[in-house]
């Protein structure tokens, strides 16, 4: 038996710059806060939800059961099961797909998808030599044997290892990878700054309209997205120095996402469950796809979503024109711009095994309430930020409105999904 999996609504914390107002909050704290806001919005205190799936990209080993522990700290029934999933920056969308699929199969009737990241709460680990020394000392039988291994410790071994977002197979950071892509596709600085400015302006307008009143719950006295610069402009952004791609690079701190702290959740359910519980129904999850490129072999690291979107649209018999709204995660302004160029590139799309190019889109339909450049990008949370936001926007446009989500992720992967207003 199959069911429609629908987005009921969502809740997230405001997002803030790493080391900012949420510096003392852990992933556990942030995810619990996002869950509690969702529970309050929909009156779920003490309710048993089918399953909660969430994750974090930067996670302490002690947080091996992060989501379940957050559920136990939340107002949900402790009988609500949970699991951790991780799909790099696509985590919040991957958890949505996981929950939606279970609902469609009738395995659960309701579920919460989420994601959280705190670059302030990043796990700091010890070096490999120090770890070996500690293990040896730990397994020693006598006090003398316990002390002996420490003789081999060198000062360099004591340096803590902060996690980095470099690609293990190329040694390049994500920004460095994207700088190569930006140059290869000929994306100009002006285009990137225009996209970044538009993101801030769209987000600011949405906040002013009260659009986020039922999508965000304040946290630690922060009531709105703290990275947002409503008064930024192309002129201001043009003054920033390049951050990636050398001194002639076009990618700056202004047109790249900032390291961020925050958590997001989306409530999904079968249509039957939503009706029985008098819950709003915003949009159904129509389809999803994950794809990967061979970035160690030279492919553009963050263009995984192109093949994913192409295959999904072909399967659904849809074109880009069928979408009222399109959300492309703004890892970097140039990621969005290269994705748009690649969609409209016949050779590139055929090279991915698609029937042809996907075409162009009307930019007025893109990221209409801003995206990661202005909101921030707590890695795993972003997908679960986009899903309820898009679902609400589609619902406002009326039943049948379709939306496309495209998210790039580390490892050359891309996660995409289609929502349709009910």
């Amino acid at each position: 038996m199959t069911h429609n999996a629908v987005v009921v609504g969502g809740n997230r914390t405001p997002f803030a710059k790493a080391g900012g107002p949420f510096a003392q909050a852990s992933n556990h704290d942030l995810l619990t806060a996002a869950l509690d806001g969702l529970v309050a919005r929909f009156g779920l205190a003490g309710e048993r939800i089918g399953e909660v799936a969430a994750g974090a990209v930067l996670k302490h080993p002690k947080d091996f059961n992060l989501t379940r522990e957050a559920v136990l700290s939340s107002a949900l029934s402790p009988a609500t099961p949970a699991c951790d999933l991780q799909q790099a920056c696509g985590t919040g969308l991957e958890t949505t797909i996981y929950i939606a699929n279970k609902i469609r199969l009738g395995q659960i009737e309701s579920g919460i998808a989420g994601g959280v990241d705190s670059t302030s709460d990043a796990p700091i680990t010890v070096s490999d030599p120090l770890r070996r020394t500690l293990l040896k000392a730990n397994s020693a039988r006598s006090a003398m044997d316990r002390i002996k291994p420490f003789a081999s410790v060198r000062p360099s071994h004591l340096k803590p290892q902060a996690p980095s977002v470099t690609e293990p197979r190329t040694g390049l950071s994500m920004g460095e990878h994207q700088a190569l892509t930006t140059e290869r596709w000929g994306i100009s600085r002006e285009e990137q700054d225009e996209l970044a400015a538009a993101s801030h302006h769209h987000l600011a307008a949405a906040w002013d309209d009260g659009f986020f009143d039922d999508l965000v719950t304040p946290y630690l006295r922060v009531a709105g997205d703290a990275i947002l610069r409503a008064d930024t402009s192309v002129e201001k952004l043009a003054k920033l120095r390049p951050a990636f791609g050398g001194e002639h690079g076009t990618m700056t701190a202004g047109n790249s996402t900032a390291l961020s702290d925050g958590a997001a959740t989306a409530l999904l359910a079968s249509e039957e469950w939503a009706a029985a519980h008098h819950m709003p129904v915003l949009a159904k999850v129509v389809d999803a796809e994950v794809a990967a490129v061979d970035h160690p072999g030279g492919d553009d690291l963050l263009l995984g979503p192109v093949a994913a979107a192409g295959r999904m649209l072909e399967r659904q018999g849809l074109t880009l024109d069928d979408f009222d709204l399109i959300e492309i995660h703004e890892a970097f302004a140039s990621t969005v711009l290269t994705t748009l160029k690649a969609w409209d590139d016949e050779d590139y799309c055929r090279g991915l095994g698609l029937d042809g190019k996907l075409g162009t889109i009307d930019r007025a339909r893109l990221n209409v309430t801003g995206s990661s450049l202005a909101v921030g990008h707590p890695f795993a949370a972003t997908g679960a930020r986009i899903v309820p936001t898009l679902a609400k926007l589609l619902h406002q446009r009326g039943a049948g409105s379709k939306g496309l989500i495209s998210m790039c992720a580390a490892g050359g992967q891309g996660v995409v999904a289609i929502l349709e207003a009910v």
């Binding site: 309050a40 009156g43 719950t217 008098h278």
Partner: protein
Amino acid sequence: MGALEKAFYSPVGKAVSAKAGLKEPPRLRRGRTWPDGPIVLASIGGGDLASRTMRLLGRATEEPVVDEGESAPGYGSRIGALVVDATAATRIDQLEELRALLRPAVRAIERSGRIVVLARPAAGDWEAQAVARALDGINRTVGKELRGGATATLLEVAPDAGPGDLVSTLGFVLQGRSAFVDGQRWHVDAANQAQDPLAERPLDGRTIVVTGAARGIGAAIARTLARDGARIVAIDIPPAGEALAAVANEVGGTALQLDITAADAGLRIASHVAQRGERIHGIVHNAGITRDKMLVNTDAQRWASVLEVNLAAQMRINEVLLDPATAGGIEDGGRVIGIASTSGLAGNKGQTNYAASKAGVAGLVAAMAPDLAARAITVNAVAPGFIETEMTGRIPFVQREVFRRSNSLSQGGRPEDVAETIGYLLDPSSQGVTGQVIRVCGQNLVGA
């Protein structure tokens, strides 16, 4: 807490202040609790409404001790309450009967005991109307003379009201829920209510909207009404969302982040309720702000914001929710509750704008009540005096200590005291109570 405040509350400070005549305030009986000692029942002129209502409440009563002789007789032990049915009292010489009942009772009343007098609204000949007003003077004075947290209440009951109309009121007054209501008088009309006993959870399954619910009195209202069975829709401005969510989750309700001054606030409340397949039994307009300044320093902006939030916004919301065509609006037989303030009733230096808005609320409920009577919707207000909240906690210590002691109970009230009074007004069996302003002020020395 400042150094002076710490010293005042230290054991030494307490001993010194006790010597100086500042007694430790009495601990009040609260919640759905009855007096410990017996409830004494008396009637002047043969009225039997009180005895019929006591039977409905299921509480045993005892005969009164009457002061008729030379030496004042006593009860021998503490009594819990004295309920006097004075509904047939219309002559000055009948006031002597009341004195003879009160004298032994006031002496014997336990801590947090209750003196309750039932009377008729002023009517009849000149003497009868003078006597009706005399009872009010007696009630107010007894309230001031009672000690140990005991309170006095005068209930004016319409001639054709029955025990079913009075049961929720008399239950509220006798129970600990009315802990901080003292020296007050209000009306109970005939509403032809079924003769049901006092309900333990009168709001079971009913949807109640509470604005300003994130903290203080609003949060206490949400908690108390949820205890009485209500499904709470907790509303506060979006920046207060974190605390609001915590309250909503605690009471198993829903949170709606909403600025009540928004033009579409009423519709958004209604659609939130309609989405859940419900209608509103009651709305508690608790959200309010202060922008205190002496009148000479009050500009148009300070004036406008207070009147907008405290008065105009709830009128707009009421208009939408009272429209029978609004899905998720207020049901027939519903309840509208405003929050007035003793500052509004008595005036308060530095609060012209606030006093205007809060006295305005008192005027509003009096105006709305008769117009909504046909739909059995009651409209009432509570007027808190000094209540211990985060807000009043910011008043400088000495000033605060003076404020909190300037009432017959020598202490500040708790948020739950306001909440309990609201819960009583929301009770479906309080149908006969409408257009009233009940002060929850411990009989504050100011504010009539």
